[in-house]
Amino acid sequence: MPTDFRLPDLGEGVTEGQVVRLLVAEGDQVTEDQPLLEVETDKVSVEIPSPHTGVVAKLHVVEKQVINVGAVMVTFAEDFSTPAAAVEPKPKAAATAPAAARSADGPADTGVTVARTVAGRTKPASPAVRKLARQLGADLQTIEGSGPGGRVLRQDVERAAAAPSPQAVPDQWGPTRREPMTRARRTIAQVMARSASTIPHVTDTDDADVTDLDRLRREYHGRKLTILTFVVRATAMALQEHPLFNARFDAETGDIIYHEYISIAIGVHTERGLIAPVIRNVDTLTIPQIADELEALAEKARRATLAVNDTRGGTFTISNAGAMGGSRYSTPIINHPQSAVLSLGRTRLQPWVVKGKIVPRSILPLSLSFDHRLIDGANEVVFMQAIIGLLQDPAELG
């Protein structure tokens, strides 16, 4: 009796993912834990390892397809159902597999259990609209519903079904090409639009003279560290003194919610786009520990093995735009619902006036955007100067 393998629960709140890459083909012999396919969720991509050693009888998904947690991805030729302690799928990035995944795995025989279990996760749509979607070959779960509560209406399905396929379409002025966004890109688009449209941003720029720091970091207790490591440390210290920058605004109640912990998200560019993994409780870490955390995150980002929860729970964000080259100042967008974001330009030698003389100094350009609902310009200047002060006097960073 062949065995179905379903998309396991990928952690808190994630209900669907997009197949990025298939790593096996039908007929392939696979071993347990061998990656079967790569699935991208909100911002993270996960390799789903095989729960069994066996032969792939059927692949139920294609690349770019969006699938729900609990959907059958692969059927194995063999029967693995005999041991009563059923197969517990264990994706590398998965946190825990709550009951949802298990019950979806279980008696799917009537379809009833599944339908009832996922009632809270399916798109609202009337039976007639659901049927229309099937007839037109439109995937209901990917359609944005325009009705109340996101209900998918007849015209939403018709529009989705009529949407041109990703091929060349000329407009009035010349040929164009239409391509669906990747899931990660769509998420970035949504997050950025929400942030920019709900938070009144103000951006200030300034410079830190990091000449001394630059010397120190090259030989820090026998180890070469990045400037970013020290900026993280300086920011954490400044956040302790300026809790408004480590808070968020609850627009519904009008309250300010202060985080009594400091966890800094680091904006990193990856092949799949922008991603901001979080270093937790930074205020309790030493400089070498921060350096270790940064290296580990960079490694995970490079290998695309970040888990969903690695990008959640930040209280402030630092974006290292300078690492990518020429950037100097920018107007960074706040990582919603945080209250501020710091962007680093590229450190370079500049003619600088020190004690009445022009001398070459290493200058780090800083751009800080803040939520003007919580914070005023005067607060910001003090906060920025605190960071600059620490960076210019690295002995204070201890």
Binding site: M1, D109, T110, S126
Partner: protein
């Protein structure tokens, strides 16, 4: 080959002429598919019609009439004590059953559906043989298995005894037993226990679960549980029956729970705790049809089994055992066989316990939402709670809405009290349409009527 044997080519064979099989056949015929039904009985309708729903419904109706007559005394209307003619009651139920079976028969004839009596057995992925009577072989393009499920006898008892009954026997009792044990705290067990208690039996109800109707939210069950405490001799939750011994004076039953063991003697024992899919005689392996670990047939959302020619619907595919589910799945299978792309994707399967007070729910329950980790918000409005209700001064059932906390979309509805069985239809429609609480709040509902708490609960969601 024996003389007289021949193989007949048919398009679609439906095995089982119960409500599910009939609706599959009727829908297939409607879509122009040549269809035959094979059934063990010589009449259509299956167990649900002949030994289940109608009989139960008739008895529940009697109980309701007795109670309403009783409650009328509060309005100054008094009736004398009812006398119950059991034989007459069975005759009345039998006539209704015959009428419905005749109606099914007429519908099938109208659509040229041939009904072949006999037990079907697979001989291969597309071969069927009807073994009893003159052997007949079929080559089919598609087959639909709708053989249903049957009650399991209670463990630890004699295999056959006139005192130990399943739900079929329970509906055909010639007299009202003095004492009765009902094994099983699900909807059917609770319904039958309350029927016989109302008719005058001293009823004990035993269930392995921690409470009766464990699938329903506890707050919905509470009013019924209180009523059963008055009505029944005893309710034994979290208890097993470990043995049944037939004696001259009745059946001696051994109970076991955490507290120890007990023995009691009953006139009749009614076991409704378990059922098994009817796959035994089918030789499903020959047709490469897979079963699940409970012996039910495994199907996908289009009711297709592991053999792409064969579909299965209703009770034979496992719980829950509901006539309307079987009928719905029958239509889905027929449409797929006719080339359509239907799926069974009901989001709100209404569950009703026809007791006094009745309980009904659909969509997800609060306990499911909590266990599965679905974000939810619960609003409960009490009806006037009077168990004497049923249209006399009562404003409707206790009503519970389970909604998505962000969108306020309805995820589940629970009702307990007068009108629950009828009102749940409104809730099922709202759930299938993907309604938000505001849709329900914005619907004008009649007054005075049982639907008042439903509207009130919807309005409270946004408050």
């Amino acid at each position: 080959m024996v003389v007289g044997e021949f193989t007949r080519e048919v398009d679609t064979v439906v095995i089982g002429g119960g409500p599910g099989g009939c609706s599959a056949a009727l829908r297939a015929a409607e879509l122009g598919v040549e269809t035959v039904i094979v059934d063990r009985l010589d009449t259509l309708g299956g167990n649900a019609l002949h030994h289940g729903c109608i009989g139960l419904k008739t008895m529940l109706r009697v109980v309701e009439v007795i109670r309403v007559a009783d409650a009328a005394s509060a309005l100054g209307v008094k009736f004398t004590r009812p006398s119950i003619d059991v034989a007459h009651l069975h005759r009345a139920a039998g006539e209704r059953i015959e009428r419905q079976a005749a109606e099914l028969d007429r519908l099938c004839r109208e659509r040229s559906i041939e009904v072949i009596p006999g037990a079907a057995r697979f001989e291969g992925p597309r071969q069927l043989v009807i073994a009893d009577g003159p052997t007949r072989r079929f080559h089919f393009r598609k087959a639909v298995i709708a053989t249903g499920a049957r009650p399991l006898p209670p463990p630890g008892g004699p295999s056959k005894s006139p005192r130990i009954l399943d739900w079929r026997g329970a509906l055909e009792l010639k007299e009202i037993p003095k004492t009765m044990l009902v094994i099983g705290g699900g909807p059917v067990g609770v319904e039958l226990a309350s029927v016989y208690a109302a008719l005058g039996s001293e009823v004990t109800l035993v269930t392995q679960e921690e409470r009766i109707l464990a699938a329903a939210d506890p707050d919905l069950v509470r009013p019924l549980a209180a009523r059963l405490d008055e009505l029944l001799a005893e309710v034994r939750p979290a208890s097993c029956v470990t043995g049944l011994n037939e004696k001259a004076e009745g059946v001696e039953v051994r109970f076991q729970n955490d507290g120890g063991t007990a023995r009691r003697v009953f006139d009749r024992v009614l076991a409704v705790a378990g059922s098994k899919a009817n796959t035994d005689g089918l030789d499903t392996a020959k047709a490469r049809i897979e079963l699940n670990e409970n012996g039910a047939i495994r199907v996908d959302q289009q009711q297709q089994t592991s053999n792409p020619r064969v579909y299965a619907i209703g009770d034979v595919t496992g719980e829950p055992y509901l006539v309307e589910k079987a009928r719905h799945q029958g239509r889905v299978a027929a449409e797929v066989i006719a080339g359509g792309d239907s799926v069974f994707d009901a989001r709100a399967l209404p569950r009703v316990v026809f007791t006094d007070p009745p309980i009904a729910w659909c969509g997800i329950t609060e306990q499911e939402a909590r266990n599965v980790g679905i974000g939810h918000l619960v609003t409960t409005v009490c009806g006037d709670g009077s168990p004497s209700g049923a249209g006399m001064g009562s404003s409707g059932p206790m009503t519970k809405l389970i909604v998505d906390p962000e969108t306020k979309r309805l995820l589940g509805v629970g009702l307990a009290g007068p009108g629950a069985a009828q009102l749940i239809a409104v809730a099922a429609l709202a759930l299938e349409m993907g309604a938000v609480a505001e849709d329900l709040a914005g619907t004008v509902l009649p007054y005075p009527a049982m639907s008042e708490p439903l509207g009130e609960a919807a309005r409270q969601v946004d408050r």
